[in-house]
């Protein structure tokens, strides 16, 4: 029987939902959209990028029409075509007007486009459906868990097991709770699976934090069930197909203004799910830059009576033994040649049925998830203490406002802020590596793949992945030797605080390897690794490669 352990329960830090900034925001949604539109409009008029407004508009219309034709989605509104045709017509008509009139039309069209985008981006948070969705996830998952883990159907209503038995929250949860009271929190998690959005939603409410707003890929709204949960969990929509400057500016303004209003936010800074299985290295700087801009604007607007709220960045690392989409993701990664193009979403998350099956499998088999909540940082990546004070490397308190000061005053310097975003992004990546928790399954994948590499030094990656079956068998004793060497190295890294290690990795080698091999990608049709007698057999090189990538970036390759 399972040992009854003391469970941590977190109380809500702001029990009255009415006071949540997100509730305030959704209450005057309309006014907020106006505000966002106005500010984006002013910003866009200032930034010219060497093009006239007319050229900018023509380009936007052209790209939008191309997108509608090349890559339509179910979620796209029906009036899209007429809208863009109308913009185009009026733009063409106005070409012959006198300069001043023409400009007036151009600006009007720009505003219309921005407004449409803002309307599309804006979330539809509803307090009541948030409550419902939240209860549904917690209750539903917990019931499912009990039904399947504790003997049979009657235990459906047992309270013995909860979701938090399945999902381990480690790291510094108290820190994020403290910071959410002191200022505005921006959570930046790693992104491997579409499940992350729901998982993080659960983590946020489990920790007793008010709802966060977050940018979710518009493609996820294609699915009704996801759309419902995401809307009610505070999602706003990010459409990766739209890369025109007008859209990007509107999106950034939306995020920046919501932060200034004190809405806790969540970005997946890697942009999309990691295709290769590697921890994000290159972060998307666009949304991240809004944290720095918003913080600077808040400092500019602060007064003696009303001190600026601080923005805190909290990295979060999610660890799975298994990523449902791995086969599709890695294939895409391998196929992709350089440039990011439009691509069709063709992976395991395309139908509600598949998700349901996945969830069922997830809850019926013993494969745990760990979520590491990192230490809070300020907008330049300096750690902050429980009071929210930024600390420099020696532990002295510094004021982030000073980063924006030149000759005694705050000034706006976009190039400087761009550089700050880079510094912040680098800090986040460092933290990701630090909080990454090595599971036995990750290490098994890494060991096996690296051994294949060693055995075939002449082959490049693509040929290696195409090795015939008879060449993908490893002697167990050899495997164990290499595995132990790597584990030693990882434990050394852990002692230096450079990576986290799951407890189950520290048991006897045979046991840990067995568990690792068994858990690695356990729900895939073809498990990447199996142990047969004294052999480790690789059944799927591609997914093995995917899981092995998780351990890249620690300089482990020298030790095999």
């Amino acid at each position: 029987m399972r040992k009854q352990k003391e469970k941590v329960r977190y109380s809500e830090i702001i029990p009255r939902t009415k006071q949540w900034p997100i509730v305030q925001l959704s209450k005057d949604r309309k006014a907020f959209i106006e505000e966002v539109s106005k500010e984006s409009f002013e910003n866009l008029k200032k930034i010219t990028r060497g093009r006239s407004l007319r050229e900018e508009l023509e380009m936007t219309v052209y790209r939008e029409k191309l997108r509608m034709k090349a890559n339509p989605w179910r979620v796209d509104p029906k009036d899209e075509k007429p809208f863009w045709n109308s913009i185009q017509d009026r733009l063409v008509e106005s070409a012959n007007l006198p300069a001043a009139d023409g400009k007036a039309v151009e600006e009007k069209l720009l505003y219309e486009i921005i407004h449409r985008y803002a309307e599309e981006i804006a979330g539809n948070f509803k307090k009541n459906s948030y409550r419902f969705a939240r209860a549904f996830i917690t209750f539903g998952f917990a019931r499912l868990l009990n039904a399947t883990r504790v003997k049979g159907f009657t235990s459906m209503f047992s309270k013995q097991l909860d979701l938090d038995d399945k999902i381990h929250i480690v790291g510094e949860p108290e820190h994020i709770r403290a910071l959410a009271k002191k200022g505005t929190v921006v959570m930046v998690p790693t992104h491997f699976s579409n499940l992350d959005s729901i998982l993080i939603g659960w983590v946020i409410q489990f920790l007793g934090l008010p709802a966060f707003i977050y940018g979710a890929g518009l493609n996820l709204f294609n699915l009704k069930i996801f759309a419902y949960f995401m809307n009610s969990l505070g999602a706003y929509k990010v459409d990766r197909r739209k890369k025109n400057p007008v859209y990007l500016e509107t999106l950034k303004t939306y995020s920046s203004m919501a932060l200034r209003r004190g809405c806790h936010s969540l970005f997946f800074p890697g942009g999309t799910r990691s295709r290769s299985g590697q921890i994000e290295k290159g972060l998307k700087l666009g949304l991240l830059s809004t944290t720095i801009e918003a913080q600077r604007i808040m400092y500019q607007q602060e007064s003696e009576e009303q001190k600026a709220r601080k923005i805190f960045i909290v990295p979060v690392v999610i660890n799975y033994n298994f990523t449902l989409e791995a086969p599709a993701l890695i294939n895409e990664h391998l196929k992709r040649t350089g440039q990011e193009r439009y691509y069709k979403e063709a992976d395991e998350f395309t139908t509600s049925y598949k998700i349901a099956t996945f969830l069922f499998k997830f809850f019926t088999k013993g494969s745990n998830i760990s979520v590491t909540v990192g230490k809070g940082m300020d907008i330049l990546g300096n750690y902050v203490d429980m009071e929210g004070n930024s600390l420099d490397s020696t532990g002295s308190i510094i004021n982030p406002k000073d980063y924006f000061i030149s000759q005694g005053e705050i000034n706006v310097d976009h190039q400087r802020e761009q550089e700050y975003v880079r510094i912040l992004a680098k800090r986040i990546v460092d933290e990701f590596h630090k909080y990454n928790r090595v599971f036995a399954s990750h290490l098994a994948a890494y060991t096996a793949f690296k051994m294949m590499e060693r055995k075939n030094p002449k082959l490049d990656l693509y040929n290696l992945l195409r090795l015939p079956d008879e060449d993908t068998t490893i002697d167990y004793e050899e495997f164990k030797k290499a595995w132990k060497k790597l584990r030693k190295r990882i434990l050394k890294l852990e002692s230096k605080g450079k990576v986290g290690v799951a407890g189950h990795l520290k048991v006897k080698a045979n046991e840990a390897i067995e568990q690792g091999v068994a858990n690695l990608g356990m729900y895939h049709a073809q498990r990447p690794l199996v142990k047969k007698g004294e052999k480790i057999i690789i059944q799927d090189m591609n997914t093995l490669y995917y899981y092995h990538n998780r351990m890249e970036g620690y300089g482990l390759e020298k030790h095999i």
Binding site: N382, D392, S396, I398, Y403, I405, R416, Y420
Partner: protein
């Protein structure tokens, strides 16, 4: 040119060596007050009394001090110009008085070794991880992020004699370049800007190796052809190891690369060049160092680069032979015979 002060705040220069003094004098032309920090109270006093530093007269706007706190608190912009061996220690002392609004532009052309030497062996060779450029030291030891460096053909004596010159201010921040230009530019001192901070720092550091070598050629009296041969081979070597350490090839063709290399490899005013000429005359490195008034960064750099070149498998025949000379494994004569036989390859990949 009309000099306009950009800020009423004093400007700080840390390190009253010959280059620090030269920088302070240039700054004083456009700024009302320049603090020149000297390592001991006695030295600061002596400078203020004699109105000279390192043998050069100082501008009336320059005041020497031994108070780091005063420099840190009163200045927004500070120029640290101290030998690389003392740089980290200095930053640790200065750090309590630094805030994120500070701008630091350093003028030190050497590496900081950030590792216990006993831990370095065959198993665990010296890597880029273990060496820091000065801008990296500043960022590690303080909360300052707006960091830049000064590099270029800037022989201190000539600057003090008010001869024309130019320099490069490199920083990731346009703001830092702008500030550097505003504070330093005058009608005989041109300032170029560059965003390749690490590349420009590496230029300044690596050229010292070649300057030592050029000094040996001059010391042996081998003539200008030989020297030109040596310097151009040396430039290739600089680019190759520089790229391995994270620099761009382009930086080496700039004023801070070729420009500085020319000036130091042809001048008795250069300390590193002088080390070379004295080595050629048969003096031992220890004697040379102990009798020099200021640090020749090149000697320390040769040892570090020699190790890094092995780690990264970059052929650096010049650095390698100079390292042997320093360690008395080879005479200067032998070294030159060896290099003349060495099958150099000249290709540089500029991508």
């Amino acid at each position: 040119m009309v000099s306009k002060s950009t800020s009423n705040k004093p400007i700080g220069v840390i390190g009253a060596g010959s280059f620090g003094t030269a920088v302070a004098n240039i700054l004083a032309e456009k700024n009302q007050q320049v603090w020149l920090y000297a390592r001991t109270p006695g030295k600061a006093e002596a400078i203020n009394e004699s109105r000279t530093s390192n043998g050069y007269p100082i501008h009336e706007h320059v005041t020497a001090t031994h108070d780091l706190e005063q420099v840190g608190r009163s200045c927004d912009v500070i120029f640290p110009v101290v030998p690389s061996a003392n740089f980290r220690e200095l930053m640790k002392d200065l750090s309590p008085y630094l805030k994120p609004y500070h701008i630091l532009i350093h003028g030190t052309k050497g590496f900081d070794l950030n590792v216990n030497r006993n831990k370095i062996d065959d198993q665990n060779p010296l890597t880029r991880e273990h060496v820091r450029t000065m801008s990296e030291v500043i960022k590690e030891e303080s909360s300052v992020v707006r960091v830049g460096c000064l590099a270029g053909p800037n022989l201190a004596r000539e600057i003090s004699e008010k001869k024309p010159a130019a320099t490069v201010v490199a920083s990731h921040f346009d703001e830092v370049i702008r500030v550097g230009q505003n504070l330093l530019r005058n009608d005989r001192f041109l300032i170029y800007g560059s965003n390749d901070l690490i590349g420009i720092e590496l230029c300044g550091i690596l050229k010292n190796i070649i300057a030592v070598g050029a000094g040996t050629i001059a010391g042996l009296g081998l003539g200008e052809n030989a020297k030109a041969l040596f310097i151009s081979r040396g430039l290739v070597e600089m680019v190759q190891i520089g790229k391995a350490l994270g620099g761009n090839a382009q930086a080496f063709l700039s004023l801070a690369g070729v420009g500085d290399l020319m000036a130091t490899s042809y001048s008795n005013l250069s300390r590193n060049f002088t080390v070379g000429t004295r080595l050629a005359k048969g003096e031992s490195i220890d004697d040379i160092i102990s009798t020099m008034e200021e640090v020749a960064e090149g000697v320390k750099t040769i040892k570090i680069i020699n190790e890094l070149a092995q780690t990264y498998s970059v052929r650096c025949p010049i650095t390698e032979t100079l390292n042997r000379i320093i360690h008395k494994e080879m005479t200067v004569d032998d070294a030159h015979r060896y290099l003349m036989k060495f099958p150099f390859r000249a290709e540089i990949d500029f991508d």
